[in-house]
């Protein structure tokens, strides 16, 4: 099937099979920052935004993305870099494999929730697994990042 994806503001015609998932199509099209993690809808590594909402691209039919706005971490690189500084400062990033999906979910949360408390942050991020960090540093980094954003 021939579909047209709008990825990070760029129009990109791609070919895909009807049952193919968005992860496969994006990675084949060169978007290697979309990580293939568990590939079963559990870990959050493959998170992308579709029309601004975070979805697991391993569980999202590629044909459904036809004509929709897809954002990978590259599409929000500037803001992601700012957030990454907070992760670094808190020692919250280790292997980095979960980071693209994790950062996209945080940036989506920032848009959706005005002033989330720790319980809301943990609830929102429950679908992003990290096998290195134990989450505490990430939670500190998110809180400080959100505080900095509010102060601006």
């Amino acid at each position: 099937m021939n579909i047209t994806l709008h990825i990070n503001g760029k129009e990109q015609p791609v070919e895909c099979r009807a049952g193919e998932m968005l992860t496969d199509v994006l990675r084949r099209s060169g978007y290697a920052e979309v990580k293939r993690g568990c590939d079963t809808g559990n870990c959050g590594a493959c998170t992308v935004l579709v029309d601004g909402a975070p979805v697991l691209s391993c569980s999202y039919l590629a044909v459904r993305a036809d004509g929709r706005e897809i954002t990978t971490i590259q599409g929000l690189a500037e803001e992601a870099k700012k957030f990454a500084e907070f992760l670094t400062a808190e020692g919250a990033d280790q292997c980095g494999f979960c980071a693209p999906g994790f950062a996209l979910t945080v940036l989506s949360m920032k848009e959706e929730l005005s002033d989330p408390d720790e319980a809301e942050i943990r609830h929102y991020l429950a679908g992003n697994l990290c096998r290195c960090s134990g989450y505490e540093g990430q939670i500190r980094a998110i809180k400080k990042y959100l505080e900095a954003k509010h102060a601006q």
Partner: protein
């Protein structure tokens, strides 16, 4: 899962025709396609048919079949009518990214044993509306399925029911070991139990025992919870044994009934 042919109909009439006449299979959220090994000869995509809504309709609330779990979780009409019930029911399902994909219709039509939502819908006395307008009791559908091809369009919920949900999981985002919802309908009690690990069922003996008293005593609640554990069948799987499920069910039901009774 492989989909050999894909159709995106422009109306529910066209979708139903493809399902009925060309043996098409409706595609809801498609969240579990990755882990399914079936091959669909014709996948009929229900996206774009306007089936994404939660709206008040007189003494009912209508939920479109393509409404996502995240939309349920954040719906103001549902929160206004049922408090935190839907947040509690679907908020443990993996993560927000998957809840932005999973649909109400896919869950109901799939009659999944592990479903949290089907348990709550059964307890609320929901009705499933199949195109072109045939409404059936949702608990009956979960138990017996449908005869022949069908297209699920929406769910109807009675708006004045009070209900509480309880569940047990090994970890927060895992599939449930057991779940249960208790509801006071205004004229009687309804108790549904799911993830036994088989699909949700009503506990009719326990419901009868509670009768039409909106304020049953603690003793009556305990008796009903025990009756529910006796009347249902449980199975064992990787998450828990049948015996464990049977043992913890009365505790969960007691908590749910007590919460609703107040």
């Amino acid at each position: 899962m492989e989909i050999l042919e894909y159709a995106r109909p422009r109306s529910t009439d066209e979708a139903f025709r493809l399902i009925r006449e060309q043996h098409g299979t409706a595609i809801g959220g498609a969240a579990w396609l990755r882990t399914n090994t079936k091959t669909l000869a014709l996948g009929v995509d229900l996206a774009g048919l306007g089936l994404e809504y939660v709206r008040e309709a007189g003494d009912h609330i209508e939920i479109g079949a393509m409404t996502t779990y995240r939309e349920l979780e954040t719906s103001r009409p549902l929160k206004a009518r049922f408090g935190a019930l839907f947040e509690a029911t679907v908020g443990h399902v993996v993560g927000i990214q998957l809840r932005n994909i999973i649909t109400v219709g896919g869950t109901v039509a799939g009659r999944y044993g592990f479903s949290d939502l089907n348990t709550t819908l059964c307890a609320l006395g929901a009705r499933a509306v199949f195109h072109p307008g045939r409404a059936v009791d949702l608990a009956d559908f979960i138990e017996k399925g449908a005869e022949g091809p069908f297209l699920l369009e929406k769910i109807l919920l009675p708006a004045s029911v009070r209900a509480a949900y309880q569940q047990m999981r090994i970890s927060r985002n895992d599939f449930p070991i057991l779940n249960t919802t208790s509801a006071w309908t205004g004229s009687g009690w309804r108790i549904a139990v799911g993830a036994r690990p088989a699909a949700a069922r009503l506990c009719r003996e326990a419901m009868a025992l509670l009768g039409n008293d909106p304020h049953p005593s603690d003793e009556k609640i305990v008796a009903a919870a025990r009756a529910a554990a006796r009347e249902l069948q449980f199975g064992s799987d990787i998450r828990a044994s049948a015996e464990y499920r049977r043992d913890i069910l009365p505790v969960l039901i007691r908590r749910a009934l007590t919460e609703v009774r107040g």
